[in-house]
Amino acid sequence: MGVAGRKRQASREAVEAVWRIESARIVAGLARLVQDIGLAEELAQDALVVALEQWPREGVPANPGGWLMSTAKHRAVDLLRRRTTYQRKLQELGREVESRPDPTEAELAAALDSERIDDDLLRLIFTACHPVLPTEGRVALTLRLLGGLRTDEIARAFLVSEPTVGQRITRAKRTLAAKRVPFELPPRAELADRLGSVLEVVYLVFNEGYSATAGNDWTRPALCAEALRLGRILAGLMPEQAEVHGLVALLELQASRIPARTGPDGEPVLLPDQDRRRWDRLLVRRGLAALDRAESLGIGPYTLQAAIAACHARARTAAETDWVRIAALYRVLVHVSPSPIIELNRAVAVGNATGPADGLAIVDTLLAEPVLAAYPQLPAVRGDLLARLGRQEEARREFTRAAELTRNAQERALFLHRAAAPDADAAPGPVE
């Protein structure tokens, strides 16, 4: 590749980098103009195509983001003009058409100014995560529109085929149009629920990367990073919402452990066994700061989970973990957000705070829970508590059962190891 070739190549990558940084804001600004996120995305993509043609030839403009924005905006304006002309013609023919008032030049100019873009970005997030959409549709649309990810990248990250992701996105856009979901911020009365739907999507994306129920594709850590990026953007857009900071705190703290969660052969390393020197201190610091912000604003399920994660982050060794505080936090959490899985986590905390018998008593209330019927962590936790009570034979059966239930090969090896030697001194960690 000659010098010119290298320059061109670098420029193409530069175009894509600018696109990644700016695309969500461009789509958001256009969506308010045309009131249709599918159309907005097409217009923005058109601008990208123009940039990919022009920039490698003519150089990257001084303000590449602004260039993309104004190119897309001109296309939007042309489209709206054609549309209003078309509508006028239809009206002349005496047909009844549903019409929006003609946008004035000033309205069009204001449409993409930077102060309003923040609101537009928020509208885009709330629309992409709208509860009329199925969860998988919300996730795919969010990664596409807010993350600027290509369909093939989303497909690889979620271990599904590219056409499947494409269909999810197309269907989601169609549903938004068919249900006439306005490109608006939710009314105050709906804000809490709608925000919950947004935070759920972000957390799902993170967990998809973090829990790795199957596969070990390199794109999975990238999903955690993408969720963190979305969370941080939300925190900037909605600084007054406690739970947004709570979720960001939770993600930063969980992500801080990623370097220590896997052993040299890819085997999972549970929290009590992690080499805490490998935790990402920058993320710990950011997580604790986000938790402070969240706690100064209110309390909610994400903030409580972050507070629990912070107890681990603050303990220099597993032995120094403040299990009494963690057990208390789980008690509040299970009250505000009842769930058998949280109750199982509480059992682990109580087992460490006041003894395995107390933990076992809680686990035993969960044995008939249908949600946990095939959940490998239930027998795993029970097995650990039994082992610590000296009931090795029962513990062995529980670990064997856990190994049968898990889909993750590394986890299976871990459970089989415990089944062979149930009294191995691994202290139980939270169910991650």
Binding site: A17, I21, D217, W218, G231, G236, I258, P259, T262
Partner: protein, 123 residues
């Protein structure tokens, strides 16, 4: 992917204009809001620092200032999806210096910080 960037001034003929500082803060705000900027800080003159060395089996400490004219003036840590994205943010930062601080010259290094992806087990 995490990147550390270091800014070094190679030629300074006047103190930075206040508008530049304002513009830098604004850009920092933007990069933070975009979820890209994780950490940043300005660096005091090397007169307040020290240089340490191990050579020929000996550890030595030399107080600043350091002899050369190039002073390291700031650092930033970005979390981005590609090197080009890091380069794009740093370009914006350097363009502010170029456009608002006449006569100033400097250089930046954009270095990737190893992350979990570098220690991933073989697929």
């Amino acid at each position: 992917m995490r990147y550390l960037t270091l800014l070094r001034a190679t030629r300074t003929i006047a103190p930075p204009p206040p508008e530049l500082m304002e513009a830098i803060m604004q850009l920092g705000e933007e990069a933070t809001a975009a979820g890209a900027l994780l950490d940043q800080g300005g660096l005091a003159p090397s007169a307040e620092g020290a240089r340490m060395q191990v050579a020929a089996g000996k550890l030595s400490v030399t107080d600043g200032p350091f002899a050369e004219a190039k002073e390291m003036i700031s650092y930033a840590v970005y979390e981005v999806r590609s090197k080009e994205e890091a380069v794009e943010w740093v370009s914006r930062f350097l363009k502010l210096h170029r456009d608002m601080w006449p006569g100033w010259e400097g250089e930046s290094e954009v270095l990737r910080v190893f992350g979990p992806e570098d220690f991933a087990p073989p697929a």
